[in-house]
Amino acid sequence: MNRVYLDYAATTPTHPDVVQAMLPFFGESFGNASSLYSYGREARAAITAARSSVARLIGADEDEIVFTGGGTEADNMALKGIAFAADGKYNHIITTSIEHHAVLGSCEFLENLGFHVTYLPVDKYGLVAPDDVRKAITDNTLVISVMHANNEVGTIQPIAEIGRIARDAGVYFHTDAVQTAGHVPIAVNDMGIDLLSVSAHKLYGPKGVGALFVRTGTRISPLIHGGAQERNRRAGTENLAGIVGFGTAAELARGTMTEEATVLGTLRDRLITGLLERIPEAQLNGHPTSRLPNNVNVSIDYVEGESMLLHLDMEGICASTGSACTSGSLEPSHVLLSMGLSHQLAHGSLRLSLGKWTTGEDVERVLETLQEIVSKLRAMSPLYKAPGRSAQ
């Protein structure tokens, strides 16, 4: 059976060109970039080239890119690194209730160390109000961390506006751009961003490599100590092949991003419209327009997400849910609950995220398959009363 992969927000396949670009660095070009001889120099040159590709993707300078072991490490470094380098007076962090766990977990850790964290609410579309950000700033505020786009519901935040507020207040501004880098244009200078997290495997690069953009002049402590790699900001021999792959992926993304967003946006809208037309009592989660071009998130009432995923998987369709049942806890998605969804609707959420290799046929197949699955699950749901039948 042909599989239909609709979980690009979880991870993307590594682009064949990226794989090709990486291969020599497992073979003849295996050097340690810290070595003085030719192998080392080749490795160093490859890393430098990759660094400038990643920098160009977000409008940064080469020197402002620190390669990390992924998006989670970048988020950790941004928040903890800024906190550890700060004067005692600056002990307040502003973030939102819908951040990725990499940010929320880092904030909780810093709270245990005595930092104060304000978690801003969002509206029903998952949007943060810039005015709430402004009002939350105190004399002690060190950093504001608001994600560029949410990984679950795809809502894109008014980052440039928040960046201006941060700049006016003289507060650092971090954004987790793991879902947007390579998909939505980013210009760190125009957007007033001081720190920005990226992950390679969300833009057709390899897993295990990411980057943190650190604006020149930002005071930040390293998380990992040891050698002088990454200009003393991240010790450890560089993940050479991974970094090369990341650079190639960034370069490819810069060329294809605009066109891909147009194509995916059309498929996304077909999928959303089709789902809402075919499945009664379903709703779109996230913002209708300020939304990632590849994100579909719906809640389907009376059915539970994991059951939908298992049935979709049996039909070869890969998707994701915000139901508790797949999170390892009993709580459904903190994002959906923050947006005011009931537990029942949060448990019935389904995320379909599209990508480079998604086709119109894929969309049709999902629409047909999901409609059948929902009918089947609703027929066995004690919450569902079929139309025309009176409730017990």
Binding site: H101, Y302, V303, E304, G305, E306, S307, L310, M314, S323, A324, C325, T326, S327, G328, S329, L330, P332, S342, H343, Q344, H347, A379, M380, S381, P382, L383, Y384
Partner: protein, 133 residues
Amino acid sequence: MSDEQPVYSEKVMEHFRNPRNVGEMESPDGIGHVGNPVCGDIMELYIRVVDHVITDARFKTFGCGAAIATSSMVTELVKGKTIEEALELSNRAVAEALGGLPPIKMHCSVLAEEALKSAIEDYLQKHPKPDSA
């Protein structure tokens, strides 16, 4: 999202794919209703009782794969049992009959046991002891 993804046994998947005894029952002798939308699992279990023996059981469930599979299994296990025997059916027995459940899904088997007990209680309330008619 954590790494603790549940991996279901073949038996669980088989009951999830083809759940036994799904649907409501016409005028059941006992109905059990357990769970709530907060935890994400709701089970309704219906039993038919003839001469103190459960002759039929059916269910409706809102929940994950394990919730559906345990509902299906408990209705299978309970058929033909006397009320006393059915009351002794434990969640572990349901889980074992399914070839085990991932640790984070054991609560689904607890819910299945509770649904059965709740249906039996409902039956016993409607049919008080002194040799029910």
